[in-house]
């Protein structure tokens, strides 16, 4: 071989070797990048891949039931059907929207409505609920949809637990409503594990007991959502289930409320209002509370006009919206805890307590009620009551007497007594939206007004002593105030929830009665005031003397009527009065206390007094006497 050829061969080899080396470099480059992705970064990419394909689908938990004290069902969960669609599975959205809208035959659900829902739905792999049906109502439409499966890709029928209230509007505002979580409840979504498709308690006990927590442990109605880990494809359609965590049913609650008493209270209230409306068309609303004086447990609580929570369980329909949003009637509003009313003469026991406890007043001392004693700015009595002591004065509701003892005790004594009796501050009942009411005093007036009005004047004390002026209290406060007098001076915390039960009915929490404060009165002193209240129903001239006439001797009723100027702008000062009635029984061994207000009911005794009577009769198992057809114009 020549040298030239050798050289040529060497060059030939060099050129091919260099290609080999070049190939090796390329392979090394690809391999090292592969190594980086698949070995070094594997965990990060696995996480990203999981995020791509793993979705947590939540399964709703069945909400706990609500029972009355006799385990009657007040709120339960039952399945309803929902027509839903998964947008990612639909190619021709307009076509499906048109077909579906035609099927549902609901004027609200237009094709545009459906398309709009699709557009605004964020999590496209979750079904969008178009319409919910009660079981019976939806059956025919569901059958039609099933038959048209082929023309309705992505449309599905979902069964979901929904709230049902077997007793309808009974204690509606107390039980409350559930509703779809709203956009302004973002806090719940962020901090309490809700999602925007969830139904939550919106009002009443449904709201307060939603996430009821004891010692840091949540034992409320909502339970715990289940989770299903599913694998989805790029179209978000689930292809496999990885793991399932079952939903935990929420705990049930047993109330102190007695549905029989509740029904009697509601029915009588409706009946009485109906009768009063004949002469007083403004009388359209009322509220009443019946309470166990020993425990503070609420046995019945009514707010009229009624609200049926079933109307909200699948979303409020258009026809009913007008009723529920009526500015005057406000059926959603629980007047028993959120409505505040002037107490009128029912406040006079506060005045009595103030005079005895803080003014050193002797209840046996007499004050002469004659026109000559009615000096300005004192309010007059309808007629002269003569020389009366406390029993007689309360029995006939003598304005002169109570103005006089209030003047002697001073306004601060009134305030202190009211406060101790639970007025002017929330009672702590387990319902949302409780109003604090208003128990005025000098300091309050000073801050509230300016100029000449700023000063607390004698007439303020006078007005206050009769429950007029600035006083405003809720029916629950009134009932609690009467209960405090009845039970010997213990201000109990009113409550509705007695026990929290598991799904199987085992009590895991029981309410322990809470004494919130005690009255600064000896039992002898209190007994005097109690006796004075008895005078109202038993005294010769008692303002409610005929009301409980049919009651047996061992069930005596202590009571007080009230007729309060509404204090509202536009009302006639001489005609428009709220009728207020408070009572407790039996006088000898107090068990229950009642407080009721009828807006524009004029007289307490002839309005709420009748409701009280019917409820007491039911409670004590007495033969009820039907209401007279024509209510007496006045029983005071």
């Amino acid at each position: 071989m020549s040298e030239l050829e050798n050289k040529k061969n060497a060059e030939h080899l060099f050129r091919f070797k260099s290609i080999g080396i070049f190939l090796a470099i390329c392979l090394a480059a690809l391999t090292s990048r592969l190594f980086f992705l698949q070995v070094v970064m594997a965990d990060e990419y696995t996480t990203m891949s999981d995020r791509n394909q793993i979705r947590i689908l939540s399964t709703p938990a069945r909400r706990g039931n609500i029972y009355d004290k006799n385990m009657q069902e007040l709120a339960i969960s039952k399945p309803i059907y929902a027509v839903a669609l998964i947008s990612t599975e639909i190619d021709d959205k307009e076509d499906v929207a048109k077909t579906l809208s035609g099927l549902l035959q609901d004027p609200e659900i237009t094709p545009e409505f459906i398309l709009d829902k699709i557009k605004t739905h964020v999590r496209s792999y979750e079904p969008i609920i178009i319409k919910r049906f009660a079981y019976e109502e939806g059956l025919s439409i569901i059958t039609q949809i099933e038959e048209m499966r082929v023309d309705l890709p992505g449309v599905m029928i979902m069964e979901e637990p929904t709230r049902y209230y077997p007793m309808g509007s009974l204690a509606g505002q107390v039980i409350g409503t559930v509703g779809l979580i709203s956009a302004d409840e973002q806090d719940l979504v962020e901090n309490y594990g809700y999602s925007y498709n969830d139904w939550i308690g919106k009002t009443g006990l449904e709201k307060t007991m939603e996430r009821f927590t004891v010692d840091g442990k949540e034992i409320g109605l909502r339970g715990k959502k289940g989770a299903q880990k599913v694998e989805v494809n790029a179209k978000h359609r689930p292809v496999a289930t990885r793991s399932t965590q079952d939903a935990v049913t929420g705990n049930s609650i047993k109330l102190t409320l007695d549905s029989n008493l509740q029904r009697v209270m509601e029915d009588t209230l409706v009946e009485v209002i109906g009768k009063i409306q004949k002469t007083r068309p403004k009388a359209q609303a009322g509220a009443a509370v019946l309470m166990d004086v020993k425990t503070g447990g609420v046995l019945a609580m009514v707010s009229y006009p009624f609200m049926d929570p079933n109307d909200f369980a699948t979303g409020l329909s258009k026809e009913k919206t007008a009723y529920y949003w009526d500015e005057n009637l406000k059926p959603m509003f629980n007047r028993a805890v959120s409505g505040t009313y002037p107490p009128g003469s029912t406040f006079k026991m506060v005045t009595a307590v103030a005079a005895v406890a803080f003014g050193g007043w002797d209840p046996n001392e007499r004050i002469n009620c004659t026109p000559s004693a009615w000096v300005q700015p004192k309010a007059k009595c309808p007629r002269a009551h003569g020389n009366v002591n406390m029993y007689e004065a309360l029995g006939v509701s003598c304005n002169n007497y109570f103005q006089e003892i209030a003047k002697r005790a001073g306004s601060d004594a009134l305030y202190q007594a009211g406060w101790q009796l639970g007025l002017g501050h929330t009672t702590g009942i387990d319902l949302p939206g409780e109003a604090a009411g208003l128990l005025p005093n000098e300091e309050w007036k000073n801050q509230r007004f300016s100029g000449w009005e700023q000063q607390w004047r004698l007439y303020d004390t006078y007005y206050m002593s009769m429950g007029q002026g600035y006083n405003l209290f809720t029916p629950i406060q009134m009932a609690n105030y009467i209960a405090t007098i009845a039970n010997g001076g213990k201000n109990m915390q009113p409550h509705l929830v007695d026990q929290v039960l598991t799904e199987d009915g085992i009590a895991i929490w029981t309410f322990e009665p809470v004494v919130q404060g005690e009255l600064s009165l000896t039992s002898e002193q209190l007994a005097l005031i109690q006796r004075a209240m008895l005078e109202v129903t038993t005294g010769r001239n008692g303002t409610a003397r005929s009301l409980f006439a049919n009651f047996p001797a061992d069930i005596k009723v202590a009571a007080k009527t009230g007729t309060a100027q509404t204090g509202l702008v536009g009302d006639d000062k001489d005609k428009d009065y709220h009728g207020i009635f408070v009572a407790y029984a039996p006088y000898d061994d107090p068990q229950i206390a009642f407080a009721g207000v009828m807006e524009y009911g004029f007289h307490g005794g002839s309005s709420m007094g009748l409701v009280c009577k019917a409820v007491f009769e039911e409670y004590f198992g007495l033969n009820s006497v039907p209401l007279p057809d024509e209510l007496p114009e006045s029983m005071e």
Binding site: G20, L23, F35, L37, S49, Q53
Partner: protein, 385 residues
């Protein structure tokens, strides 16, 4: 005709590796295409059909001595140019004039042009053996290859025209281009690439958005520049091109060392990774077979390439060497670009993975190219130096 000794010359290791690759292709394609059509074997069956047709074409190629192709190379060159010019007058599909509509299939002349030009350019260089140090020859070589390349670039089909660049330089190198000149070319190419990215950097505020106007001194189309920008910053376009890149990297990265298992790649089976039975099929191997599997696949590819280079080295004459090197360059470039694209070190181009991506015409062309390699291989004889 095929003489008996030819069979003895055949590099059976090379053949075996190619056969193994074809088997791997069918296996991985089954997993990659299961969720594409209603029949989970549809693509596998069609691919198998094309492999059989391709093998027939390959055998046909073996019957003609490559010297014969060289003799008719002016004719081949002419026909090739006609096809490439003609296609520019065809109606545009997907915005490009790349295809002839042959009713039963779309014919892409640029695919065929790759092997036609390998033959013609091999002949061109073989005629100028030992003369490639002269500038006039170098320039002539550029013109010779540049003409069809420009036509393809005009279709537009940047990916395929870049394959021609790879073929050009690989064959020039084996054809005797002086190392110094080669080095200069490499530096120029590197500079050109850096220049493009450098210019784009300023036109897009550091690849944060698309350029408002095209820099005139970069002879690329808007969408081509867009792809380059997205290659640097895939997050900019997380729904389209960037989405492909991101999902491909997720697929491969989440495969880990051993992979998620055959048919169990969630990125693929869940359709998160688009084009997973065509352009992104390498990602399927990466996800389901992991680092181990994808490395072996790459090793198989580079083994085939290395074997081809050895065949070229042992070829009977320079013409044979050049043809084989041209084919190897064509494959090598596509493999590197395609695999590089799936792992995020190359921008997205429409180049399929040879012998792995689903596609009839490219399978046919690749088989013909293999035919050329074996054609040279079996006629290599014992070359005496």
């Amino acid at each position: 005709m095929i003489e008996k000794r030819y069979l003895k010359n055949i590099d059976w290791v090379f053949v075996a590796m190619v056969a193994a690759l074809l088997v791997v292709n069918l296996v991985i394609l089954k997993s990659a295409s299961t969720n594409v059509g209603s029949d989970s074997f549809y693509y596998v069956k069609r691919q198998l059909l094309w492999i059989v047709l391709g093998l027939i074409a390959l055998v046909c190629v073996l019957f003609f001595d490559y010297q014969y192709f060289a003799r008719i190379s002016p004719l081949i060159y002419g026909v090739n140019l006609l096809l490439l010019v003609g296609v520019l007058f065809m109606p545009a599909q997907k915005g490009a004039h790349r295809w002839y509509d042959l009713k039963f299939m779309d014919f892409q002349p640029s695919e065929l042009a790759k092997i036609l030009m390998i033959i013609c350019f091999a002949c061109f260089l073989a005629k100028r053996e030992h003369e490639m140090g002269e500038w006039k020859n170098i320039l002539a070589a550029f013109a010779f290859m540049g003409l069809p390349m420009l036509l393809i670039f005009a279709e537009p089909d940047l990916g395929t025209s870049l394959v021609f660049v790879a073929i050009l330089f690989a064959m020039l190198w084996v054809g005797g281009l002086p190392p110094k000149v080669m080095l200069w070319f490499i530096l120029i190419i590197l500079f050109a690439v850096l220049f493009i990215f450098f210019v784009l950097f300023f036109y897009t505020d550091g690849y944060q958005h698309l350029p408002e106007e095209l820099p005139w001194f970069i002879p690329l189309k808007g969408y081509q520049l867009t792809r380059l920008i997205i290659f640097i910053n895939p997050e900019m376009d997380p729904l389209d091109t960037g989405y492909h890149m991101i999902q491909s990297e997720i697929a491969i990265g989440s495969g880990g060392l051993w992979g998620k298992g055959y048919g169990k790649g969630s990125q693929v089976q869940g359709n998160f990774l688009p084009e997973h039975h065509t352009d992104f099929i390498f990602s399927v191997a990466g996800e389901e077979w992991g680092f181990v599997g994808s490395f072996f696949l790459l090793a198989l590819y580079f083994g085939i390439l290395a074997r081809a280079v050895m065949i070229a080295y042992r070829a009977k004459d320079l013409l044979g060497s050049l043809i084989v090197v041209g084919v190897a360059a064509m494959f090598g470039f596509q493999i590197f670009i395609n695999a590089g694209m799936t792992i995020g070190i190359m921008p997205i181009t429409g180049l399929p993975m040879p012998f792995l991506s689903y596609g009839g015409s490219s399978m046919l062309i690749n088989m013909l190219a293999l035919g050329l390699v074996l054609n040279v291989n079996m006629r290599s004889a014992q070359r005496l130096f």
